[in-house]
Symmetry: C2
């Protein structure tokens, strides 16, 4: 096998209370790569469809950087050609760069006979994130590679915990066509937080994890609260408060910022409910005259998948 096609899904990082530690995978959209083993010792990005502004140089493209990190770990000089097709818009806040680097490392790992587990691949894809945002965070690449919900318990050493999603959990994600760069969004956060708020936050992280394991949708909903990051970052997203209010009124379990925004996600019990939330979210930006993409998706349990 010298060639493989891999799809890696978009992801929602943070998930309200879990800033920098939680993420979940969507079924779609996602990025696709076609990776081919070559006889050279170079990693080459041959194309990056649907995103003309992304660099093709392997040391600047997140997929190239991630693959090179993997090969370095193996002391391998094997060459690869990577053809990337973007399905996740850059800057959308649903893990665009993560989908590319995740797809690439899963593909290369497959062609090399799977020397690494899915969890071990996270470390390499994180190097793609570092290239894209300046920070080697894992909260998008972990769910894109592993599927379900992921908890990054620790970075030193890296400790990724996969948590299966309750079957009826659906996400609605709206991406208003406004650009918020992750670098800028991170800059808004101050260095210190109130102890009382921190306690509220870790109580909610505990509640969310407990809700996922016990398939308690109400508890999941009660725990989807962010008292630390959302109040600060949401000011960068026009219409945020209205979208959240409308989503909750339409019956969502919870609603918050996806990653560093501008996408906003809501979780619902069941597809029908998630579609109602979609309608409610859309109405707000229709009213404001802001263009948007909107996705309704079950939480993806498997993560990146080999297509052929």
């Amino acid at each position: 096998m010298n060639k493989v096609k891999v799809f890696a899904p978009a992801t929602v990082a943070n998930i309200a209370c879990g800033f920098d530690v939680l993420g979940l995978a969507l079924d779609f959209p996602g990025d696709e790569v076609i990776v081919t083993k070559t006889n050279s010792n170079e990693v080459i990005i041959t194309a990056c469809h649907n995103a003309d502004n992304l660099p093709l140089a392997a040391d600047e493209n997140v997929a190239g950087v991630a693959v090179k990190a993997l090969l370095k770990k193996l002391d391998s000089t094997q060459g690869f050609e990577i053809e990337l097709t973007k399905g996740v818009k850059p800057g959308s806040g649903i893990g665009s760069s993560a989908a590319s680097s995740s797809a690439a490392v899963v593909a290369v790992n497959y062609l090399l006979g799977e020397p690494f587990t899915r969890k071990e691949l996270v470390e390499f894809a994180m190097q793609g994130e570092k290239c894209a945002t300046g920070v080697a965070h894992a909260d998008n690449v972990a769910p894109s590679i592993c599927g379900g919900f992921t908890l990054i318990r620790s970075y030193e050493p890296l400790d990724v915990i996969k948590i299966d999603s309750p079957e009826q959990l659906w996400a609605t994600v709206i991406h208003p066509q406004i650009e918020v760069k992750t670098r800028d969004a991170r800059r808004v956060l101050k260095g210190g937080i109130d102890l009382k708020k921190a306690i509220t936050q870790w109580g909610n992280v505990g509640g969310l994890i407990a809700g996922l394991y016990s398939k308690d949708y109400d508890l999941i909903g009660r725990s989807l609260v962010d008292v630390v990051i959302e109040p600060i970052r949401s000011i960068l997203i026009p219409g945020y408060a209205s979208v959240k209010k409308a989503s909750m009124a339409a019956g969502a379990l919870g609603c918050s910022i996806s990653g560093s925004g501008p996408s906003i996600f809501a979780l619902s019990k069941g597809k029908e409910q998630a579609l109602k939330v979609k309608e409610a979210m859309g109405e707000i930006y229709n009213e404001y005259g802001v263009d948007y993409d909107i996705h309704v998706s079950q939480v993806n349990s498997e993560g990146a998948r080999i297509i052929k």
Copy 2:
């Protein structure tokens, strides 16, 4: 039924990463109450065995305060006599006041035909905690009443989540005979914390809850880390670092301060391991010439129990 005897167990609050939100119940020690329905409309503490310094006036004794809060909610003028026998030393950091108020509300609820669920009783026992420490916290009363591990996700409204303990999880708790008042211990904490530390903390809370549900003892161990409170509070406990080091060297999954101290707890997989940790902890204080009590106990799954 006009008379009942109830045992409520000692508890470990905070559990490393879960400051102010997590707690667990021990099998012993614990406090016992004998509660009798009377024909008066008064709540009377008739005795408080094994603790001569505790007040008997119902408005000053935690058991009296908790019972009165329960009766107030019912608009009841029913009178009760409460005979309290302390098994948990006041000031030990394993929920001494909580055991008394928990036992009392469970007993009175029983005699009244159980108008409240166990979780609902937590609110009343919290009033006992307010009387004892100035803060109506629930992280000791919740596990003492409900058993297992408890997560206080929120106080407004009160949201108590019970999490069953993996069967092989045992606690070793050493109480060096040094007094640390909770009021003083809380005063040591400053108002703000570093965002990075807060993220580490909520990652560990998530990991601990995930470990409990998935019965992953290693994950439980990796998550028993406190980067926020322990570094500050442990300075109030002589020999803390040595006890922790010895416990970990003896094979404990994790070790931290019980509540606000001075008790130190460790969790282990299996009774045999917990007994090894007991020996290691004891040796340290033997060396230092500090008197101590030490308990080895499985995590108690049922909480306060009706004895007769």
